[in-house]
Symmetry: C2
């Protein structure tokens, strides 16, 4: 057992930042402190624009790293809010590095430690999530254009109200998830009305629809129902409907050998485990295109994520970091 002659990772306190990167640095420090030289080199990676909230699609940095999107196309992506160009913003903040994209060589293996960002592990009292794959993600931006009109003088029957249309789509997206059931999720997180005034029937509405599923066929069904829903709503209220795909990733299955390794190591360290898909997108799904990949999840308190109250208990952070350490030790052997 490779880990028997070194200290385990001990976190000094909370990881106030990206767990995967900070735990990766702890692993490196632990190896150096123990004087261990691995057969294969270990690199800690941090990719630009994992969230994609300002520059779509999400996981853009790792997508470009593995050759899934041309560097120039990525640098030309514009921000949804202010139209800023990604390449200009990277230069402005000093993040426009010189390394070639796609990378000149890909790793022997890749493993990513992450909080679950959901409520399942905590609810079950399980410490380590063994991640088998990632849900497919479909992001659509919708524009509904109607006719701005006076809220007091325009009879209901004469309105072409894109705000009402948008609201019917929000309700309809939730109906689609109920129909498809199971793991299907659907979210309208962004919605903007124009001109957005109390006494004016809106001229237009722009909103996003986020659909995710582990099964590509079901995800395509959800997308088809969204298209039908938009057509019905546009027809009912005499609206012009335009859609734009902001991101579309098929579900990803991680390498079975890497998944088994995470499970084996976690159980050997005495942790309870659960095999599960990831509901969120992760850079690991991009690396899975070019090398054996898996992920390690630790519980999120209250299932919260994308929320200032996001947190994970210190013992769970340490458990995750130690699983990461021993997975890396095993996989960095020349024979692995």
């Amino acid at each position: 057992m490779t880990g028997s002659h070194i200290d385990t990772v001990r976190t000094g306190g909370r990881f106030d930042g990206n767990l995967g990167v900070l735990a990766g640095l702890e692993v490196i420090e632990t190896l150096e402190r123990a004087g261990i030289v691995t057969d294969r080199p270990i690199t800690v990676a941090f990719f630009t624009d994992e969230e994609g909230a300002r520059f779509a699609p999400d996981m853009l940095g790792s997508l470009v790293h593995v050759g899934g999107m041309a560097l120039e196309a990525a640098l030309d992506v514009r921000a949804a809010d202010d139209g800023a160009r990604l390449g200009d913003e990277l230069a402005r903040i000093g993040y426009a590095g010189p390394a070639p994209c796609p990378a000149a060589a890909f790793p022997h293996a890749f493993v990513e430690l992450h909080i679950e960002q959901g409520p399942v592990l905590e609810a079950e009292g399980t410490t380590i999530g063994v991640v088998e794959g990632v849900q497919g993600i479909s992001w659509t931006e919708v524009d509904l254009v109607g006719r701005s009109a006076h809220a007091g003088t325009t009879p209901m029957a004469l309105r072409r109200d894109p705000g009402l249309g948008a609201a019917e789509v929000v309700v309809g997206v939730h109906a689609i998830t109920a129909e498809l059931g199971g793991a299907q999720v659907g979210t309208v997180g962004r919605l903007d009305l124009v001109p957005n005034l109390v006494n004016v029937v809106p001229a237009s509405a722009r909103f996003t629809v986020d659909l995710r599923h582990t099964d590509e066929q079901v995800l395509q069904q959800a997308e088809e129902r969204l298209r039908e829903l938009l057509a019905r709503v546009a027809d009912r209220h005499e609206l012009d409907a335009r859609t734009r795909s902001l991101a579309r990733f098929e579900p990803v299955e991680f390498d079975p050998g890497m998944v088994d390794l995470v499970e084996r190591v976690a159980q050997r360290l005495g942790h309870t485990t659960r095999r599960m898909p990831s509901g969120a997108g992760h850079d690991a799904q991009m690396l899975a295109r070019v090398c054996p990949t898996s992920m390690i999840f630790v519980p999120s308190i209250g299932g919260l994520s994308h929320n200032l109250a996001e947190d994970t208990a210190v013992p769970d952070l340490e458990a995750g970091a130690n699983v990461l350490l021993h997975v890396l030790l095993e996989r960095s052997r020349a024979s692995a």
Copy 2:
């Protein structure tokens, strides 16, 4: 007939601005050109903040003028968007005048010329709307607070989504107008989600509901149904719901003698007429508290208003201005 010995108002072209004020100035100019001295003085009035889009309630200036709101309370009103104080903004743009509020004296009568802002007159081919009163207006700002969560990892059943709640209220407001039928209108013109990101279930939603009716009893029914709707939606999705009244005006009936006068003058000048309520709020409804008041409507092309394409045909503008002229001439007699 008073008007027989003077020119009628002739508009040089479009009124590119406030019709009531510009037509009032045309009337004054026409009287001066004809050398007419009226028994009673004629004043052209222009009130601050008629729309109320930035500083609620609407018609705030005329409300303060007639003593319906204390001047200091009005000056302390804050903008919904940036929190600016009305008194500071008036001082900044040089509109903080020295005249006392409420006014030291009120007019003998008040008449307001306005575009219909709706589709009825144009649809019927009628030139002059004889306005009998103004719909009651109820503006409510609603805050729904749920729990921000990750759009990919949070199962639908575990969400507390205020965006979905807001959408259900938008759809429900339209259902309320359909149930109450007739002249009931309801509009959600403003809606903001926080944090408003594609992959985040919103933490909160803030939106406005604009309800209007000519009958106070029906308007109160609509408000009651809105309260019930909000309670149901908040309960269903475990949301905290808070409401704030932004404006509440009861329906107004104009002085029957003034309404008759507008109708008589319009018909004498050869125009088709129609008695109707106003769907929008107007300063005239505030003046109606302190003196005999009525309004003159002219058609809106396409029924459009609160829209850059808002327009009225020049012959209709002239017709309205001449009805205004002759109503003022009759009413400014010492015997009237």
